[in-house]
């Protein structure tokens, strides 16, 4: 009897091992076999149904309230923006606006006259006036209201506490006539037209919003004007869209249906794709450990992105610029991008990422950001620091990928004689911790910035003295002056020179290095044969469903 119980124990342990070991075993065969849509011909499939796996539930489909990528991409499918950006050049291309004129601080959009809402009403300039003022209204309290602050009177109206009608009227956007929209800007802001492709600038249908209030985005109420219509939205489960037959350009839209299950877990997303249940992911990210395996598969794609991943210094704690320079030099970015991140990202040599227009002029090729690091130089420099820190607190949020990079950096800084304590925090708490001003325990923190529009100012203005996104405690008046100057400079080349100077203040030989950029983002994604040729993610993380064609077999 006892002997048999012991047998039981052994059997249990053996089976646990077997269970685990069975988890190994060849699995190269399944993926290829499971794929749908072989791609021999270039023939579009008879059924143009595209299945995309969304990585998150969109908190809101109201252009005024949406802040995340999923909402943004769904909105850009449901609505027609003024302009869309060319995926390669990022230049503004006409969409709802046929043409536009820029004259000093005034931008005039000429709208098409054949665009309609799904209920038949024509889309007019008034819709835009109403929508933008609504986004700026203090009642709506839109997170992204600041996107429109380039318009005169916008910031004032948004900050108003009572009796705001007068301020609302003073906002610089007017409908000259039904199809002409005039915008008064606070300064030339040459990027404004490109910025107008952002979902915050989308129009909403006034009567619908007024009738249904917060519920206007429900599928039975919603009124849109874009290439697709919202068929169903089961919260946290799926979003399905169908083609809008009355869209102004419906003839050129191939997809009939877009089915979108919402799968929040990265590993499950990959599994779902490899089981053939979805045609593509939405660029929301792949589990870092799986990248190595997925990169060898034909369905792996990688898109350059306009974003910078950086470690910021709390310049109040690490106040010696030589120390910051040394810490920056000690980081071997190539190891991070090639061995740890492995999604083909570029090592950062400045703040502004490759792909931004004017990059060649703007990039400082900083001596403090050598791609492979320079440990000797770093150690030499570190020796010159008076009172160097022997212990540093490195904070990051607990999303996938950051821990591994932090561990690598921790190891690199160990060679300088610095003991780094890594602290991972949950997102909401992390943001509060960073302030600004950051909690005094913060020595180094990790953040990334994805650009809202393709101009370097979007990233560079983060580090002005008053910016709510400057967590470094660094404040340089010259820098701020340059930022103001750039905002008023209409000539592109001149602006790029100014950007170069800003980068220089931070990263030149005598720069102050308030942060150390690590790499520039990419969007790794999985796409099967049926859609790979026509599906892409733009550097601003936007998906254009009007271009997608499902290839058949």
């Amino acid at each position: 009897m006892r002997r048999n119980r012991w047998l039981l124990l052994v059997a249990a342990l053996v089976a646990v091992l077997a269970f685990g070991a069975a988890g190994c075993g060849g699995d190269d065969d399944d993926a290829a076999a499971e794929e749908t849509g072989a791609t021999d011909g270039g023939q579009p499939a008879a059924e143009q149904v595209f299945r995309i796996g969304w990585g998150a539930e969109p908190p809101s489909l109201d252009p005024g309230k949406a802040t995340d990528t999923t909402s943004s991409n769904v909105l850009l499918a449901l609505m027609d923006p003024l302009v869309r950006l060319n995926p390669d050049t990022l230049a503004a291309e006409p969409a709802l606006a046929e043409s536009w004129e820029v004259d000093g601080n005034t931008v005039t959009f000429n709208l098409r006259d054949d665009a309609t809402w799904t209920n038949g009403d024509p889309v007019t300039a008034n819709d835009f006036v109403y929508s933008w003022k609504r986004t700026l209204s203090p009642e709506l309290a839109a997170d992204y209201a600041y996107q429109l602050y380039g318009i005169t009177g916008a910031a004032e109206y948004n900050g108003c506490e009572k009796n705001c009608e007068a301020l609302a009227d003073a906002v610089g956007v007017t409908a000259v006539d039904d199809y002409t929209l005039q915008v008064e800007l606070t300064s030339p802001q040459p990027w404004f037209v490109q910025q107008a492709s952002h979902h915050s600038f989308l129009p909403v249908h006034q009567a619908t919003v007024e009738e249904f209030g917060d519920n206007w985005t429900d599928p039975e109420n919603i009124v849109t004007n874009g290439p697709f219509m919202l068929e169903s939205w089961d919260h946290d489960a799926s979003i399905n869209m169908v083609k809008n037959p009355n869209y102004r350009d419906a003839a050129n839209v191939s997809l009939e249906r877009i089915e979108g299950p919402i799968i929040v877990d990265g590993t499950t997303r990959v599994q779902s794709f490899e089981a053939g249940e979805i045609d593509a992911l939405d660029g929301a990210g792949l589990p870092p450990e799986e990248i190595e395996r997925l990169k060898t598969e034909p369905y792996y794609e990688q898109y350059p992105a306009l974003g910078t991943y950086y470690y910021g210094f709390n310049t109040k704690n690490i106040s010696d610029v030589n120390e910051r320079k040394a810490l920056s030099l000690a980081i071997n970015r190539k190891i991070i991008t090639d061995e740890i991140d492995r999604t083909g990202r570029d090592q950062a040599t400045g703040m502004t990422p490759k792909g931004i227009e004017g990059f060649d002029v703007i990039n400082p090729n900083s001596p403090w950001l050598p791609p492979e690091g320079d440990m000797e130089e770093a150690q030499a420099l570190y020796a010159e620091v008076q009172n160097p820190h022997s212990k540093i607190n490195l904070f990051h949020n607990d999303a996938p990928g950051h821990k591994e990079i932090a561990v690598a950096v921790q190891d690199m800084w160990k060679e300088l004689g610095v003991e780094t304590t890594i602290k991972a925090q949950e997102w909401a708490q992390y943001l509060e911790f960073l302030g600004p001003p950051p909690n005094k325990a913060v020595d180094v923190y990790r953040l990334g910035w994805i650009y809202d529009f393709p101009d370097a100012i979007n990233g560079l203005e983060l580090f002005t003295c008053d910016s709510g996104n400057n967590n470094t405690n660094w404040c340089n008046k010259d820098y701020d002056a340059l930022v103001e100057q750039a905002k008023s400079e209409a000539d592109a080349n001149a602006r790029w020179e100014l950007y170069r100077q800003m980068e220089g203040i931070m990263f030149d030989e005598d720069g102050e290095v308030p942060l150390t950029p690590i790499m520039w983002y990419t969007y790794p994604n999985l796409e099967n044969d049926a859609v790979r040729d026509t599906f892409f993610i733009s550097p601003l993380d936007q998906i254009d469903f009007t271009k997608v064609v499902v290839q058949g077999s």
Binding site: E139, D143, Y144, D234, P261, I263
Partner: protein, 313 residues
Amino acid sequence: MAAFILRRVIWTIPVILLVILMTFGLMKNIGGNPFRKTDRAVTPQTQANLERKFNLDKPWYQQYALYVKGVFTFDFGPSLAQPGRDVNEYVKEQFPRSIKLGLLAFVWAILLGFPAGVIAALRPNSIVDYSVMFFSNIGFAVPSFLVATLLIYYFAVKIDLVPTSGWPLGFWSLDSRVLLPSFALGLLPMAYFARLVRGSMLETFQQDYVRTARAKGLRYRRIVGLHVLRNSLIPVVTAAGPLLGFLITGSFIIEYIFSIPGIGRGFVSGVQNRDYSVVMALTVLLSLVVIVANLVVDILYGFLDPRTRETGR
């Protein structure tokens, strides 16, 4: 009996109030800004506007009073993190899904666990017994997220028997997507039931009255069916209540991995997003579930085991 039930029901009210207070206190203390979802800072104007809109600028006791009022009028207000969504609607949508998941897991547990335990008890120390004990150990011992991932890998990717994720949304609708998640969730209760039933039956076999029945010459089957099974049910029933409560509330991992839009996941996201309305509503709801489950069990227990009816424990 009626007095007992009434007393317990009345006690529920202060318990709920206490739960609200504790959750409220916890949520207030963890800090974090429910309105800042991305790393982009929220302008002070926007922050002020939002706080005003959601009554967050009022002193804490007023906020607490508002919450309590909301609970008793069943109006939990709008969600903070998901603008435009009403918490009431949200709960009405998501809660039945978690219940369904929990019930299906419970079904697995009973379907597989109960007979397994019975069979094992009837043949103690045999191969059958050891297999049962062995599987029940596995059910306890391996972390659920590992089991779930491997299950998906085998059954959904490799042999493509079922889809990898998703969930049929209508309460009464079922399709193959329910199999893996409910099984994965049901593993632990399954194992637990098997052991419990086995243990309880074995113990009952030792009781004097069973021995008497055998001495009297009653047929084995009759003994088992009439006496042993019924009396072994007692601990099972006792365990079933909190277990059901656990199943409904503790399914976060399974819901997350299988993309099931239920409240387990919703609760954790609510905490992470500092969505106070959602957190408060779900806490109250889940506490009620547990309290009701315990109450039902206590009542059933009173019926099943007359000995406990007499004294108040």
